[in-house]
Amino acid sequence: MNAAEKVAQANARVMEIFTKARPVWTDVRPALEVVPGMKKNLILHPGPPISPEKLPIPLRTAICGAACHDGLAKNMEEAWEMVLSGEIEIDASQNHDCGNAASQVMSASMPVFVVKDMTFGGTGYCVPHPGSNPRVLRWGIYGPDVEENLSFIRGDLAEVLGEAVRKSGGIDVIRVLSKTAGMGDENHNRQPAASMALALELVPHMLDVDHPARDRVIKEIAANDRFFLHVMMAGVEGIIASAKKVPYSTVMAGMGGNGIEFGIQVAGTGNRWYTTEAPMIEGIFLKPTTTKDDVLGYLGDSCVTEVWGLGGMSAIAGPAYLRMTGGTFEDAKERTEKARAVSLGEHTFAPVPWDDFKGFPVGVDIRKVVGLGILPISHGGSALKTGGQAGAGACELPMECFKKAVEGIYYEIKGEEA
């Protein structure tokens, strides 16, 4: 079999995984128990691996905050010294079948959603979304109030949610997406419909849980219109875990930013990263006093949802997000058309009524991106350099990553032939 045939066969296999996967949310467990390679002194961060000295302020704060939360250090200063000395280790979440949105990090004691793909067997993990309070670790902020919320999530919320999910027998993520087709979610930066549909499935089981904090947890879940995002991220991580085991494939199987660098992963080379300088999210700012100089480069792993055809790839499904961030309906259509031009398949579970009932494009082929010169557009929130959310919008994925990835796969196959 020549290289072209190997690639074609591998891509067909990855597209089978992407389009036939069935992610089901089955449990909530401490990261240490379930996340591959997790250790007590390991903290996972978004985007490609980065040396501690280069960490931007929000990630540094989140990592040190998580170290205090886990009792690894007495205070932020001690935590930072331990990170610099290597006593506390850091690594990219997506090297461990996890995703961390925005400036979120994951420590060993944090609870994670366990979402298993029932077709191909991969499992992905993500911490719960912390709610609409702007002062969260997820935006690089730590203090007594943030610690209180983290402790609530690790304790009451994880206990109630875990029992409810287990009682439910598992919540089918694709069923949630199917039921909310045509309700205006693009399912990366906008998911009120999916979050409500998820609550419909979950709340009856939560009511059967005997726990003193049950009602508070129900209120937190029912009032959080972004709750579904982190379940979806864990679902996608489970799917791409299987895709990353398919050698020779040129289909994108991971992406994220650490604020300094942005990177993609490709199925055929597993957890290898292809990186470049993090692009800037263009759109709106939450405060009129914010300027471009205040904003960090692309930060977060929530864009793994886009690897599976959501967010900017299916922008036409959620045109209201574009309206909010300075775009038009036509821009939404164009974003999805660009993704279609460089993708190998289409989802069938959530056709978009105002797009001739077409499905979301899925499976970005790095060869098409480089050959056609068409860059997919990702949606995302932007972070302030000092911590906190700056705004929301979109950006083109950097061509440099795709060129490096083509080179990576090329030499991988050439090397085997030599």
Binding site: A3, V7, R367, V370, G371, G373, K403, V406, Y410, I413
Partner: protein, 62 residues
């Protein structure tokens, strides 16, 4: 012979529609003079990067 000349003259007498393969600014000048233009959406393969083109061909094209 006379018939062929007429055909060419017919072409020159008909309405001019310019198909522009180059930068859009070429067509802009003609549009300002009242001519209709059609812009071809063309990009060289891999942005003209010869090394990338060779690698893509080896990997089965795009």
């Amino acid at each position: 012979m006379e018939k062929k000349t007429e055909k060419i003259l017919d072409l020159f007498r008909s309405e001019l529609i310019v198909v522009n393969v180059g930068p859009k600014s070429f067509a802009d000048v003609l549009e300002k003079q009242g001519f209709e233009t059609l812009q071809v959406d063309y990009k060289p393969a891999a942005g003209g990067d010869r090394r990338m083109m060779e690698m893509l061909e080896y990997l089965g094209g795009y």
